[in-house]
Symmetry: C4
Subunit: 261 residues, 4 copies
C-alpha cells in the first residue's frame, strides 16, 4: 500500500451548492475552535476522514478517555439547510496541519479534490492573527480574499481588510483560497485578532463565529463557547507540547523525556 494523503468516506451526502468552511489548528486555535463549535451546535454529521503521511508521526491519547489512542486526522462534516435562508455546508476540522512545507500543498489539493466532488463553489477559511499583545476589549475580525466583490461583501459585515498589517497567511487557510481560486472556487479568509500568547481565545473565536453565522444565516447559541473552548484546551496543550518537542528534532524518537517508542 502506498502511503499517501487520502480521504476515507463514511457516506457520500447529496448536497445543494454547499459552502465550505475550514477550521484547522493555527495560532490561538481560532479556526479549529470556531469550526468545531459550529459542528457541535448545528449537529453537523461526519462523512469523511483525511489521513496524511505529512502529519506528525504520532498518535494522541484522548484526555477524556484514559488510554484511548486517537490517530491524527482531518474530518469532513456536512450540514443540510433546515430552511431556505440557510445553505448546505461542508465543514473541515482536524488535529493537525502538514509537518513539512510541500505537504501543505498536497493536503490542500486533496481537500479541494474532495469538496469539488460535492460541487463547492464558495469557501470560508478561518484563522487567527497574532498581535503579540494581551489586549482587553472587542476582538477585530480581519479578512483577505482574491475577488473584490468578496471583500466588499465582508467589509459591509464589519470585517477589516484595510490597514491590517498582515503580510502573509501561512498554511491551509491561505493556500486553500489561492489554489481554490485556480479551480474556480472563490473564498474569503476570516482571521480573528488574538494575542497569540494563549492556547485559545474564546472571545476572538466568538467574534469570528458572529461574522460566519451572520453570513450563513445560521442562528447559534454562543452561551457554551467559553466552556467548550476551555475543554478543548486540554487537548491542545498536549499537542503544543508535542510540537515544541518535535520542532527541533528531525529524529523525534531519541527524545530524552516523555518519549514513547
Amino acid at each position: 500500500m502506498v502511503s499517501e494523503t487520502k480521504v476515507n468516506f463514511l457516506s457520500k451526502p447529496k448536497l445543494n451548492n454547499p459552502v465550505f468552511v475550514e477550521g484547522l489548528p493555527g495560532i490561538g486555535y481560532i479556526g479549529r475552535n470556531a469550526a468545531g463549535y459550529l459542528v457541535d451546535e448545528i449537529g453537523a454529521v461526519k462523512f469523511a476522514e483525511l489521513f496524511s503521511p505529512h502529519f506528525p508521526p504520532v498518535v494522541l491519547l484522548d484526555p477524556q478517555k484514559n488510554g484511548t489512542i486517537v490517530g491524527l486526522k482531518n474530518e469532513f462534516y456536512y450540514y443540510k439547510a433546515k430552511s431556505k435562508d440557510e445553505r448546505d455546508l461542508i465543514i473541515l476540522i482536524g488535529d493537525s496541519q502538514s509537518m513539512d512545507p510541500q505537504g501543505h500543498y498536497i493536503i490542500a489539493d486533496v481537500i479541494l479534490d474532495t469538496i469539488e466532488m460535492f460541487g463547492v463553489k464558495e469557501m470560508i477559511t478561518i484563522g487567527g492573527f497574532g498581535t503579540g499583545e494581551l489586549t482587553e476589549g472587542s476582538s477585530k475580525v480581519f479578512g483577505a480574499a482574491i475577488l473584490p466583490e468578496k471583500i466588499k461583501t465582508f467589509e459591509k459585515m464589519g470585517v477589516q481588510f484595510k490597514d491590517t498589517n498582515i503580510g502573509q497567511i501561512i498554511g491551509a487557510s491561505g493556500l486553500l483560497i489561492s489554489l481554490g481560486h485556480q479551480r474556480g472556487i472563490q473564498g474569503v479568509c476570516l482571521m480573528g485578532e488574538t494575542s497569540g500568547l494563549l492556547l485559545s481565545d474564546p472571545k476572538s473565536t466568538e467574534a469570528v463565529l458572529d461574522v460566519l453565522t451572520k453570513y450563513l444565516n445560521i442562528k447559534l447559541d454562543m452561551s457554551k463557547i467559553e466552556k467548550r473552548v476551555k475543554e478543548i484546551e486540554k487537548m491542545i496543550e498536549k499537542i503544543e507540547n508535542l510540537q515544541t518537542k518535535l520542532a527541533g528534532h528531525t529524529k523525534e524518537h531519541d527524545e530524552p523525556l516523555g518519549y514513547i517508542g
Copy 2:
C-alpha cells in the same frame, strides 16, 4: 532500481492466526530489548528483513565482530506455538526507525502489508515512557489502545491505562496501532516506565515482558535479561552517539569528527 522501503523474504512460514509483537528502538530501548530477548529465548526464526531509504544513511560496525559492516534493517521473526495454550507469533525487532516524519508512515504501512500476508489480526507494540527521574522500585507498565475491550483485558493484567500523563506516542509503536486499526488489525501499546536518562533499563524491560508473556501464555527464563540488556548497550551507545551527531546536521558528511565519507 527504485530506492524504496522493501521487505526481502528468507522464507514464507505458514502461521495460524499469529499475534504480531513489535519492538523497535525508542526511549530506554524497552521495546527493542524486550522483543529481542523474547526472540532469543523462545528461539524465534528470522524470515524477512525490511530495508528503507528512510533509515539514516549509515552502516554500523558490529562491536562483537571487528570491522564487520551491518546494514540498518528491521527483522521479522516467527515462532510456531508449541502447545495449544500458546499462539503463533511474528516478532519485529530492528536497529532503527525512520529518520524523517513521512518515512514513519511509509515504514508502518510496509510493516502492516507484511503482517497482513500472514493473517495477523492482533498486535502488541512495545515502547517506553520516560519520566525524567531516576527512581527506585517496581516499574509500572502503561498501556494505550483503541478498543475498550483491549483496555479491559490488559487492565486486568495490571497495565495502567488511567492517569498516565501520556499525551502522545511518537513513532512506530503508536502509528502501527492507529494505521492497523484502519485495516482491522486491533492492538495494544505496552509502555515500560523508565527514567529515559539511561541507555537501557533491564527492570522495565522485564516488567513489560512479564505482561507480554502472561498474555501470550509463554514461559520465559528471565535470569539472563540483565546480562543481555547490558550486552546490547554497547551497540546502542554507538547508535546513540551517531544520532546525536546526525541530529543537528542535514549534511552529515561534513561532520568534523569520527566521520567517514
Copy 3:
C-alpha cells in the same frame, strides 16, 4: 490531483529564436528588480504562470490592494522584437524560489522544459553578489558562464569574470546555466555587486540592466528605476520577514507571532 510544479499558459506566443532572461528573488533582489523593470518598461506580456509545492506554503497580501491575496508564483513574459536590431525575449520574474534543495532542481527543469517549447537557445540569468560591505561608487557587474566565447563576449562589455572571489552560485541563476548547458542552451549569469545588507540596490540593478540592454540592443529609460525599486521594497520586506520566520521552523503553523493558520 497530484501536487507538482506546473505551468499554466495564458497564451502560446510565436517567438523567433528568443533570448531567455531570468530574474528571481535573491540577494539584494538584483535579478528580480532588473527583470521586473525590463518587463514594465518594454511592455512585455505575461503568457504563463509557474506554481510549485516547493514554494513556501504561504500566500501574500498585496500591500497595494488591501486584503487581496496573491499566491506565490513565477511568471513568464514575452516581448516581440520591434526592429531587426532587437531580439524576441522570454522573461521570468517571480515571488519565490524553492524552499527545499531538491525543489530547486525540479523547478529549474520545469523552467527549461517551458523555454525549450519556444526554441530558446540562449539565456541570461541575473543575480547579485553580496560583498558584506556598504560601499560608495560604481557597481561592478560580475559574470559566470560555461562557454569561453560567452565569457569573451561579456568581458568586452565590461563584465568582470576574473578575480571575482565568487566560489559558487546558489539557486536558480546557476542551476539554469548548468542544467541548460546539458540541453544545449548556452547562457551567462550576470551578478550585480551589492552589499547584501539592504533589501534592494537600485544602483546595482541599473548596472546590470546597462549590460543586459546593451547586449540585447534595447533602449531603456532608466529614470524611474529608483522609484520602482523602492516600491517593490515594501513587498520584499514582508517576504523577508516571512523567510526569517520560516527559516528556523519546520512546523510553521505554530509560529507564536503574526501567524495566521
Copy 4:
C-alpha cells in the same frame, strides 16, 4: 522532464571483470583525493557523469578558469588493464554527496545500477576516519567489510580491522558496501586515519593509495601527491565554506553574504 538522479554516458567501454573504486568527498577528502590521483596517474578515461537533485542546489566556479561554471556531478572513469597482473577498473570521483539522508540511498542505488551494467563483482570504497587530534607519524589504514575472507585479505596487507573504535560509516562508502552486498557485489571500505581538522591530508591519502595499488597490482608514482592534494584544496575550501553556509539553512537563497540568486 522529471528531475531524478541520472547517469549520462559518454561511452560504454567493454570491461573484463572490473574492480570498482569509489572516492567521493568526505572527512579529510581522503577518498576524493586518493581516487582522483589514481585517475590522473593511470590515465583513466571518463565515460559517464551522474547528476542528482539530491546534490546541493548550487554550481561551482572553477578557481583555475575564471568565471567558468561547473555543475556538481559524480564522474565514472574506466581503466583497461595493461598487463595480466592488472585488473580493469571503474573509478568514481565527484564534487558532492547527497544533501538529504534519503538521497544517499537513491544515489547509491544508481551507482550500483551503473556498475552492474559492466559486470562489477568487487568494490573498494575509500573514506577517512577523523581522530580529532593532529598527530605526527605514520597514518594507519582502517578497514570494514561484510565477508570474513575480505577482512583476512586486507588484514594481511596491514589494514587494521580490530580495535578501530569506529562505530559507523556515514554516507556512500558504507552504503555501497551494504547495498552492494545485497546484489552480490562484495567489497571493502578502506579508511585513512586523519585528524579531520584539516581540509586534506596527503600522508593519509598516500597510505590508502599504498594499500589500494598493492591490491590492484598497479604501480603509481607518488611523488606528485602532495602538490596535487594542495591544488585540490583550493576547490575544497570553497565547497567547505558553502557547506557551512548551507548547513543551518533550509532556505539557502536568503543567505545574507556572498549569496547570488
